[in-house]
């Protein structure tokens, strides 16, 4: 077993995909947390004294995000008021179980939790919608509903920021998808660490440069409990292809993930390019890039 690259004298337990360093458990925790702290401070993600909602699904990314945000907030005195915000899509055998994990996070981390449900917001659960329309494009409009539900929850909680658990692999995947689709508007937005959703509450991604492998290893070695069942409805096929492609490339060289993010960040969209402008959906009045938003469609 190789020794820890930090020369602390212990044996390594992990090879870092980003740097190739071999680290022991304690040095890995420190490197992992420090890098997220560096990401937060370099991008000036949060103003001291502000209130932050963490979008919590009970999955690995948001569980690790909530844990690390609480830890860094205390360690570096960010003076943030942290709350958990979850969306209940109404998917039996999936979201009901994962919400139990979020409730466990609430108790373990001592953070208040707000749950917004599709049923209350839209009058329908995902189970009811799929029973009515069948299995087609479920992920697409469920995603649109969830975005809106998170925005409304964040507004209701009166927070200054909404933090999501998007990791480096997710962002690289999205860059690839937007290139494959030729979606320039999304391509230029998708690597931003802060995005404004249109109603004034910025969304931030503190795990933007954190590899999925390290998130899962961190959760494992910190013994964080998370929920890991695939949604019962058809998975997003297109994202699935981008994901398989990315994972295959990562096996050859883990640096591709950072390289794709960097390429996405450096791209400049030609000013003559035809860009959609944000407007209001003519049916529900919510922000949309088309006359009728994806949810109403």
């Amino acid at each position: 077993m190789p020794p820890c690259s930090a020369q602390c004298g212990k044996n390594a337990i992990l090879k870092r995909p980003k740097t190739g360093d071999t680290l022991c458990k304690e040095c890995f925790f420190e490197a992992f947390e420090n890098e997220i702290h560096f990401t937060i401070t370099r991008a000036k993600l949060f103003k001291p004294g502000s209130k932050v909602a963490i979008a919590a699904s009970g999955g690995k990314d948001s569980t690790v995000l909530a844990y690390v945000m609480k830890l860094l907030n205390e360690k570096y005195d960010y003076k943030l008021d942290l709350v958990l915000l979850s969306i209940d899509e109404g998917i039996t055998g999936y979201r009901d179980d994962s919400l139990d994990t979020v409730k466990q996070n609430r108790d373990d981390y001592g953070m208040p939790l707000k749950i917004m449900s599709y049923k209350d917001l839209y009058g329908w659960t995902m189970d009811e919608i799929v029973a009515e329309i069948g299995r087609k494009n479920n992920c697409t409009f469920c995603g649109v509903f969830r975005r809106q539900a998170l925005d409304r929850g964040a507004a209701l909680l009166n927070v200054d920021y909404l933090a999501t658990g998007h990791n480096a692999d997710d962002i690289a995947e999205t860059v690839l998808m937007n290139i494959l689709r030729g979606d320039l508007a999304r391509l230029s937005r998708c690597t931003s660490i802060i995005t404004d959703s249109g109603d004034g509450i910025p969304r931030v991604k503190p795990l933007k440069y954190t590899y999925e492998k390290e998130i899962v290893m961190y959760a494992y070695f910190r013994k964080l409990v998370y929920f890991s069942t695939e949604c019962v409805f058809a998975p997003n096929a297109y994202r699935g292809h981008a994901r398989v492609l990315l994972k295959d490339l990562e096996k050859i060289d883990p640096a591709v993930i950072m390289n794709i993010i960097q390429s996405g960040e450096s791209l400049k969209i030609n000013e003559n390019a035809n860009m959609p402008t944000l407007q209001k959906c003519t049916r529900c009045g919510y922000v949309s890039s088309q006359d009728v938003c994806k949810a109403c469609e």
Partner: protein, 97 residues
């Protein structure tokens, strides 16, 4: 040879939702390496959709492997020589977010 094989992060769904398996590997002429174990798992433990677990004589990219709580990338991955009482854990990173 006795070892423990474990699954987590959603990988257990391919194994009847059972997370921990006490395994006795049969005697053979040469040493057992992880590559042999993967074939043995496919033939003896895997219940469904082998393509979600295996790819090109290794695990599918996105599945992490820990040998006695250490990253298998520190130990020559599929060529690691398995020892008595080893604990080998497969964690899927492919589920949910």
């Amino acid at each position: 040879m006795h070892i423990t094989v474990e699954f987590g992060g959603g990988a257990e769904l391919l194994f009847d939702n059972k997370k921990s398996h006490d395994v006795t590997l049969p005697e053979k002429d040469k040493e057992w390496i992880i590559k042999d174990l993967l074939i043995w798992i496919k033939d003896n433990l895997l219940k469904e959709r082998p393509e979600l677990f295996l790819q090109d004589e290794s695990v599918r990219p996105g599945i992490l492997v820990l040998i006695n709580d250490a990253d298998w990338e520190l130990m020559d991955t599929v060529n690691y020589v398995i020892q008595e009482n080893d604990r080998i854990l497969f964690i899927s990173t492919l589920h949910g977010g």
